[in-house]
Symmetry: C2
Subunit: 332 residues, 2 copies
């Protein structure tokens, strides 16, 4: 893999991650780590599911949003904040802004799920809809920032966000102990890069893997080519994974990632059904994707290649969110 | 309420409940206690959900089944066990029997959900179907017992079962602390009577309430009349709540219950939707019923009547199970 470009800012330090954790822990849930004997047997490994779908606002996004918003000076906070998001970051920023008592302007693509828009409004966020393209999101957010003077809180190209998202893997490793591998979904890369920072700090030998829809494979292509690739749009069922990596997250992943698994649409739905049926938790497609690669025997074989210890492989999975419309589920 | 009939056997002691807990704890999950700020605000009380839907086999039933089966002598165990159940006890007994390596004969009503029958078979239980009537269940189980010499493990009229089920409320109170009230579903009364034994021992001032479908209201009628009432059959959507109280569970409830809330079918589905959407966990109708009464303001008012302390009411809810067919959900 290519080396880190010298223009890239340094990644959040372990101290920054610990500070983020101390800052947000009193405000958020310490989510449970669930096990399923059946799913572990199906995958031939001991699985540990970190349930961020059970987190406040229904996803890990509240970690980064809370860290960023409570890191602002009073002067910055008084101007309010602006961001763009396909849904979960939008709700999280709106919620954390309401906790701090400041205004939140949110740019959302007009194909964002209705229930995610409703959640933003319930927390008091002010929505501006845009075309479902990365460029349109950035333009709309920049315009609002210019008009209002609000502070931009990018959904992932932001060290405060990455440090916040890093705390989910930190908690998982504190609880599950000696994991051989960790799988998390990748979209903009905030969760995955944060997870990699925590996991590699706490357990340098761990393999950290991203899981990405084959229909939105920009992170895979970026890692393959060593050059940041863009993704204009995607209609993957994993509606939370339609963004593309940014300079900060790409640089961290280049340093620390073991690989990215591409997952087909049917595989996503199949994994989602198994998580609902076996783990009994509501997960959105963007979240269940992180189980999917492990249902293929070759994945566990690949992960165990570099491992020397005895016993079954221990694998952590971050279930990132659970915001899904119960009236239009993909189960047949 | 009427006094306890002298012929009723004494209820499980606190020592028996502690022994049950020590016996089963290494084999089952310590399930999480989840919170939701939104649901708490909707009900005007601090809610604590004990998630037995996340338990092994998908319900609290594994607690009693494991306690009963691992209490058997080797001679008893060698004969195998027999029971009857509409589903969750059946799966739990089959699973615990497989852990002990013994045979399990299970009588199930022929209208039991297909996925619950599949679970029993997956654990190696041998199913005999019967008419969906309480009398038919008892007759079929007695016949199998006579033919095979297997030990009968009644789904709830059994002290080992009640002591096992009591451990869920014990864990909830250990974690949530000073609860003012505890709500649990009632069918045969194993969970509710066990919950009442634990809760009243740990916190004598607590109010313990049962939640029962209006379409299967035998426990309500039994408590009202002071005479054990029967229920021949019911088509309530809460398929796990179609059984009726037995002498042991009725006697305990007469001693310790603050009341029973009757819940309509639409209220059950509404509560189920809220638990899925807000708590992000998969619950079956029989389980979500325990939230339903709290969505009416008069319930919280009623519960707080006898309370002197300051602050919001703290209420525990036992979510009993999560076994539901994802392909036929009631959400519209």
């Amino acid at each position: 893999m290519s080396t880190r470009p010298s223009s890239t800012p340094p990644a959040p330090t372990w101290d920054a991650i610990e500070a983020a954790h101390a800052r947000i822990a009193p405000k958020i849930h310490r989510t449970p780590v669930l096990r399923s004997a059946t799913l572990s047997a199906m995958c031939g490994a001991e699985l540990f599911f970190k349930c961020e779908n059970l987190q406040k606002t229904g996803s890990f996004k509240i970690r980064g949003a809370t860290n960023a918003i409570f890191s602002l000076s009073d002067e910055e906070a008084s101007r309010g904040i602006v961001t763009h998001s396909s849904g979960n970051h939008a709700a999280a920023v709106s919620c954390a802004a309401s906790w701090r008592g400041i205004a939140a302007w949110i740019v959302m693509p007009k194909n964002a799920p209705a229930m995610k828009c409703k959640a933003v409004e319930a927390y008091g966020g002010k929505i501006t809809f845009c075309e479902p393209k990365v460029s349109a999101r950035n333009e709309a957010a920049a315009r609002i920032q210019a008009e209002t003077g609000a502070v931009m809180i990018h959904p992932y190209d932001d060290d405060r966000i990455i440090a916040g998202q890093a705390t989910a893997a930190k908690e998982l490793l504190e609880e599950a102990g000696e994991l051989d591998a960790l799988l998390a979904p990748v979209s903009g890369g905030g969760l995955l890069s944060g997870s990699a920072l925590s996991a590699k700090h706490m357990r340098p030998g761990i393999g950290v893997f991203g899981c990405e829809p084959a229909k939105a494979d920009d992170a895979f292509r970026s890692m393959q080519s060593g050059i940041l690739q863009s993704l204009e749009s995607s209609d993957t069922i994993a509606d939370g994974l339609r963004a593309s990596l940014a300079p900060r997250t790409f640089a961290i992943l280049q340093q620390s990632l073991a690989g990215i698994f591409l997952v087909g649409e049917e595989e996503i739905v199949n994994a989602m059904g198994l998580v609902w049926e076996r783990l009994k938790v509501v997960t959105e497609p963007s979240s269940a994707i992180a189980l999917a690669p492990l249902l293929k025997p070759e994945t566990v074989q690949l992960i165990s290649r570099d491992r020397s210890g005895p016993g079954r492989l221990k694998i952590g999975i971050i279930l990132s969110g659970g915001n899904v419309d119960l009236r239009s589920l993909p189960f047949r």
